[in-house]
């Protein structure tokens, strides 16, 4: 199995607070990898390190090595803006650009990359919205505000926006935590379809969700990785006592 992301001894801080204490793991291509753990265990920090979003917070710092497709993304020759263009990210709460239409929201990433050809944009917007399973619901009102959609639709719009630039990797930071159960289910189905083409890393505080949708699961606790294995193993025969305690609901 090809490893797209190789993380080696990554440490991260917010000011003086260390949130990651040496994380090492490898993430497989075209698989869904879930990061689970209690609040404050560093799971969000971890995926924000993968596209260099952690360092945009004032006072934040990262150490260690992350290779994506064999490129060290923290090398001094690498422009973080370029890294972020190649990696899609979906946030906890839907964040479409409120003053833009549905169409322009999806096209925004391409426009940032300098694509201005109307035909290319139009095709990319349709393709991305189809992949995000939103096309049928919005195709007749692409010129409406992105904010006119429901929460679940907005989140799928954000997924479409992230997919439009054709990234290899999709990072999802608790993408369903602000959504109702039906919208959550749609996002989960979507993740299953998307893994054919993308490598997906998803942070979730919902263990059932991790069990349902992921191929691999990493359990984080206090900034350390406790256990990382095939999802089935994590949930049926965890090796570490702490993992077992967490998934059986004894803490967290």
């Amino acid at each position: 199995m090809e490893k797209v992301i190789q993380v080696n001894d990554v440490k991260a801080w917010y000011g003086s607070l260390q949130t990651l204490k040496g994380i090492s793991l490898e993430i497989s291509k075209n698989r869904v990898t879930a990061i689970i753990g209690p609040s404050g265990c560093g799971k969000s920090t971890f995926i924000r390190c993968l596209n260099r979003m952690h360092e945009v917070v004032p006072g934040a710092k990262v150490e260690g090595k992350i290779l994506i497709n064999k490129t060290d993304i923290y090398s001094t020759q690498v422009d973080p803006v370029e890294i972020r263009r190649r990696i899609g990210m979906v946030f906890q709460k839907p964040n479409p650009f409120p003053t833009m239409t549905i169409y322009n929201n999806v096209a925004s990433g391409l426009k940032l990359n300098g694509v201005n050809n109307k035909k290319v944009l139009g095709e990319a917007v349709e393709k991305s919205l189809r992949r995000a399973a939103l096309w049928d619901e919005v195709k007749d009102r692409l010129n409406h505000s992105g904010m006119s959609l429901s929460g679940g639709q907005q989140q799928r719009l954000c997924i479409a926006r992230a997919l439009a630039v054709e990234p290899d990797i999709l990072l999802m930071d608790e993408p369903a935590s602000a959504l109702d159960p039906i919208s959550t289910l749609r996002i989960e189905e979507l993740v299953q379809e998307l893994k054919q083409q993308y490598t997906i890393v998803i942070v979730t505080h919902n263990m059932q969700q991790a069990a349902r949708i992921s191929d691999y699961t990493a359990f984080f606790l206090n900034g350390e990785i406790i256990e990382y294995d095939i999802t089935e193993n994590i949930f049926t025969k965890p090796k570490d006592k702490r993992t077992e305690d967490y998934i059986t609901g004894r803490f967290g």
Binding site: R84, G88, M89, F91, T101, S108, G109, S145, M147
Partner: protein
């Protein structure tokens, strides 16, 4: 069974409500009175202005607005030049102050490190606390000579053939008034823009950043669109101040009721003429004309505000479909 539960549960709630109502009512009454007081006061001011200016309104009619003749000796009054001066000097101020203010606000919120942005932000706000007469004095002794020597002379030498820059470089005049007003409203627009920009949700900025936006692109795609209507609101407040500013303007505008194409020519403003001539206005008709200028200043401010609000509405309403909660 159901009825029993209903009875039991409603009685105590009804009781506590009964206790709360008087306090609520009193609070409502206080806030309502405060609100009503402002409206009554405004109504009374407008009514009084109408009454006191009726002499001049009856005599000059609509010509008062279009005529430029202001001749107290012969009892001929027309406020055209004052209206022109007020509007043009304010527009100059807005045109100059807006980009500068938004630039400062963006720098303070998006680019400057905290150890710099806090004191600089404080200093900018301090500018707003300087009395306008100080601006006027500084304008006469420092700013006007500077404008004359280093801005009007070279521009006049090069572009004097354009009517906008024609005429002798006097220093005092429309351009100086507009510039002084710009300096005076920069702190207002900056402070409001800074607050609005720093209230743009991090999630919006990060959304753009995660798509690979550079610092400028984050501002263009996420920050400014989100803050647009708030910033425009700040500009309206600044414009309100510019339209009504009296002291600093009268000290540098030249106080000559003429409409000239040149920015270098002396002009006059509505607020300035009221302040300057009120003590001399001994005739009834003279006084009435000045009060009518006041009424028109009210009206001009009102119309400019309305236009600006319409402008905001048309640029900031966003795409179709509105916002779903």
């Amino acid at each position: 069974m159901d009825k029993d539960i209903k009875k039991k549960s409603t009685t105590p709630r009804g009781k506590s409500n009964a206790k709360k109502i008087p306090l609520d009512k009193i609070f409502q009454a206080i806030t309502f009175t405060a609100c009503l007081g402002v409206i009554l006061l405004l109504g009374f001011i407008i009514f009084k202005l109408f009454m006191e200016s009726s002499l001049s309104v009856d005599k000059f009619g609509f010509k008062f607005i279009t005529s430029m003749e202001w001749d107290p000796v012969n009892g001929e009054f027309g406020a055209g030049a004052y209206i022109f001066g007020t509007i043009v000097s304010s527009l100059i101020a807005i045109l100059i102050a807006t980009p500068v203010s938004v630039g400062i606000a963006l720098y303070l919120t998006e680019i400057a490190p905290p150890w710099l942005s806090t004191p600089v932000g404080f200093l900018v706000e301090l500018l707003a606390a300087i009395p306008s007469v100080i601006y006027g004095l500084w304008g006469i002794f420092v700013f006007v000579p500077f404008i004359r020597q280093y801005i009007q002379k070279p521009i006049g030498d090069l572009f004097g053939w354009i009517p906008l820059f024609s005429g002798p470089p006097l220093g005092i005049g429309m351009l100086s008034a507009g510039l002084i007003l710009a300096i005076m409203i920069i702190p207002i627009i900056t402070a409001i823009s800074r607050d609005i920009i720093s209230s743009v949700p991090t999630l919006q900025r990060e959304g753009a950043m995660a798509l690979g936006a550079t610092r400028w692109e984050v501002i263009k795609y996420a920050t400014l669109p989100f803050a647009k209507s708030g910033i425009l609101g700040g500009i309206i407040l600044g414009m309100g101040r510019a339209l009504g500013e009296t002291m600093a303007v009268t000290m540098v505008i030249g106080n000559r009721p003429e409409i000239k194409a040149s920015l270098f020519a002396p002009a006059h403003s509505m607020a300035a003429v009221i302040a300057n001539e009120f003590t001399e206005a001994t005739d009834d008709i003279y006084l009435s004309a000045l009060i009518e200028v006041g009424l028109l200043l009210f009206l001009v401010t009102f119309i400019m505000n309305g236009l600006a609000r319409f402008f905001i509405w048309s640029v900031a309403r966003g795409p179709k479909g509105g916002i779903r909660q």
